[in-house]
Amino acid sequence: MNNITLGKYIPLDSPIHRLDPRAKIVAMFALMICIFIPTGFYGYAVIGALLVICCIAAKLKVSYVLRSFKPMLVMMLFLSVVNAFFIKTGEPIFTIKSFTLYSGAITQTLYIVIRLMLMIVITTLLTATTKPLDMTLGIEDLLSPLQKLHFPTHDVAMMISLALRFIPQLLEEAERIIKAQASRGVDMENGSLKEKIRAILSLIVPLFVSCFQKADDLADAMEARGYVVGAKRVRYKQLKFRFGDVMTIVLVNVLLAGFITAAIWMGKNNAL
């Protein structure tokens, strides 16, 4: 479980860590939109440079960021192969028997791969520098206009934060159950299909039972401390915008505007 980097918080102290989660979420969306605005490789170079600076500012190790690409490797490979076979635009580069590789295939693939990589870096930056709970608070605040439409933003945020709170505990529980069943001779890896199904059941059923038990207990504990679903409460954790947060939002918006202008300008030039 320790090998998964995507989406894991890295407790460090850096200017990026200290940014308000709302500013970071807004920045993430703005950058994502930038990626999808067609500005060619120049645009990607700008975003790439910006992300490198952010990663350094966030004190993230290169190896850590690289590791976050791992889960996507297979998909990128698959895309390259498919593109190589189906894109027939641009100049032909070489031909082996009946297969010809076109330059269009290479540029198209590069576009997609770079986009994917940039997106991964952006999300990694956000999740690695923002505590899960702060993230929920940020999301809750950003969604608060929806309350007018009777969307229960607060309850949703509460659910997410409780889920986050109990994930480590459930993982521990799962490990305990696996060990307990292994002591009864369960072999999760070997055996016939029927045996494997039983082995998995021997993990899942107790885990569910324990989950429901926890949910029951937790509901009692919350109710006893005066929690009522949908009722008014005073939130303890308040997020506060600081100068840096305001600047971040201003900057990404300037960037976004720049990208849009560039795209329009390039579009016109191409048309000419």
Binding site: D217, L218, D220, M222, E223, G226, V228
Partner: protein, 275 residues
């Protein structure tokens, strides 16, 4: 003055299988009451009924003169709080600070006052240095301390402990028992403790013995333990000093009445060493 008044209380989880049968009792304001009875006797069910976590079938419950009804539920929970058995399953916040804040948030305490309250009560249970710790980093005993701080911070008059020490190691047990009696004295709280720890029962003012969903007996620890027949019939443990007193009585030795082990040792030594 009685702060909890229960009369003819009935409850069943399944139709036709009552677990609480015509239970009536009164609890004095500021007293320390222990509730004993073996597992499945209905002790925890009574605790949940008192907090309105289960809805009673019939009978009355009054907390500080206010009858427990659906409409009064909010006010009732401003008066009575509970610390449960499992330290993990009642830790709601993601840090100690957030967990203590949770109750305050629900009771709509002003935001400006929260920090002060959180720090005050963390101090009271000696958890100040852990304020920003996550529950995974705390021992069971420490988590129970946080649960106690969270209830205390809400400024209630009555706290119920539902086997709050039964999942802790001996150190944690001793710790929490000491903390309970300390807050009982200092904060003039009414404490109701459901327990299997017979030595804790000795320390309390008042004992409620629950058996098969009924109150088998209520009285001071002395009165309860004197009723040896009842204790044996209900398969309840009795304190060491009482066991020894009974065993000595079988040998025809009668010593002065005491509940304290040190004094008992004095008596025994005097008796055995007397010329």
């Amino acid at each position: 003055m009685s702060v909890i008044h229960v009369k003819d209380l009935n409850y069943s989880y399944e139709k036709g299988k009552p677990v609480i049968k015509n239970v009536s009792f009164d609890i004095e304001e500021g007293s320390y009451t222990t509730v004993i009875g073996h597992n499945g006797s209905g002790k925890s069910t009574i605790a949940k009924l008192l907090l309105g976590l289960l809805e009673k079938e019939s009978g009355t419950i009054e907390i500080g003169g206010l009858p427990l009804t659906l409409e009064n539920l909010g006010e009732i929970r401003n008066r009575i709080g509970i610390v449960f058995q499992n330290p993990d399953n009642q830790f709601i916040g993601s840090t100690v600070r957030d967990d203590i804040a949770f109750g305050l948030e629900n009771h709509c305490v002003e935001r400006e006052k929260m920090d002060g309250l959180i720090e005050e009560f963390a101090e009271k249970v000696s958890m100040t240095e852990f304020l920003n710790s996550e529950p995974g980093k705390l021992s069971g005993g420490q988590k129970q301390r946080v649960a106690i701080a969270a209830v205390l911070a809400m400024n209630l008059g009555i706290i119920v402990f539902d086997e709050a020490t039964s999942m802790l190691d001996p150190t944690g047990k001793r710790d929490i028992n000491r903390l309970i009696s300390q807050i009982h004295k200092e904060n003039k709280l009414t404490v109701i403790s459901i327990t299997h720890d017979i030595e804790e029962v000795v320390q309390s003012d008042n004992v409620l013995v629950i058996d098969h969903g009924t109150v088998a007996m209520q009285g001071t620890p002395e009165e309860i333990f004197k009723n040896e027949k009842l204790m044996v019939r209900m398969q309840l443990d009795i304190p060491f000093v009482y066991k020894l007193k009974n065993a000595l009585a079988e040998q025809g030795i009668k010593l002065a009445d005491t509940l304290d082990m040190e004094r008992m040792a004095d008596e025994v030594c005097q008796y055995a060493l007397k010329k």
